[in-house]
Amino acid sequence: MPAGADGRDPLVIAGEEFGSRLIMGTGGAPSMSVLGEALAASGTELTTVAMRRVDPAARGSVLDVLREHGIRVLPNTAGCFTAGEAVLTAKLAREALGTNWVKLEVIADERTLLPDPIELVDAAEQLVDAGFVVLPYTSDDPVLARRLEQVGCAAVMPLGSPIGSGLGIRNPHNIELIVEAASVPVVLDAGLGTASDAALAMELGCDAVLLATAVTRAQHPARMAAAMRHAVEAGRLARLAGRIPMRRYAQASSPFEGMVKRS
């Protein structure tokens, strides 16, 4: 088999290799034990957390769950509306967690949670300059993805549809355009609802998928996590295999020669 033909060629971001192409989030899980089971079933090696004010009454930490399963932590800047907030949050995450990797989120409003492109590029530039490995959550805009790559982001992470919506990939054509142009990994981030959405992302040529809600709020999170793991692997394999072109009319798969003749 050619290299990577088994679909298990590693994902490489900023020179670091990951055996799994499924990046998980941790939001929405009903308990730490359910979260732990889901993360284990997903096979993920990289998982996001948010940064918030300490709660003196909190019991158990998401960091303990990640440590228990040997999963690398990826802090995010979820909830930030300005570049200034996002940069400060990233710096606090670096100090608290000892990683210079950050999933950069700068949102425009709470109703859509769509990225604010102006603030996003500003924050990305500041964080790259400050030595961060910046993985920006972005809209499915090929021009914005290019801008983010130009300022030095280590990947681009376009949404399929709004965060938590489960609407899947609303504009597969734009995702293909982003994939075609990018020389950094493309991670489909946000909006996926079920396994076929994750497979489609990989079939479109994305290098990885990032999801949380589709698993953590599923009726059976660990089962959906396993489904996502298989879907990402299947979609990657299908991409590497090279699908057949779509045709307008049928193409027989059985020969017409040698058919029985009735007299």
Binding site: G28, V49, R52, R53, L74, T89, K91, L92, A93, L210
Partner: protein
């Protein structure tokens, strides 16, 4: 002296440090970061960094998200 720790006013003795204020809200030995008036103070500098009246200290940790 009154300072704001995670948005809540707190009375701390004069010459209290960032370490003192952090200890008032968490005893976690790691995984916590602090920003004093929007500037990150590294953990190694907490004990030596004195607070002054009306300072704003943010103390953050990782939670489920994303």
């Amino acid at each position: 002296m009154k300072v704001f720790v995670n948005g809540e006013p707190r009375d701390l003795p004069e010459a209290a440090s960032v370490a003192d204020a952090v200890a008032a809200v968490t005893d976690a030995p790691s995984g916590v970061a602090a920003a004093l008036n929007d500037e990150v103070v590294s953990r190694s500098a907490w004990a030596a960094t004195r607070l002054t009246e009306a300072d704003r200290l943010e103390v953050l940790t990782a939670v489920q998200g994303g």
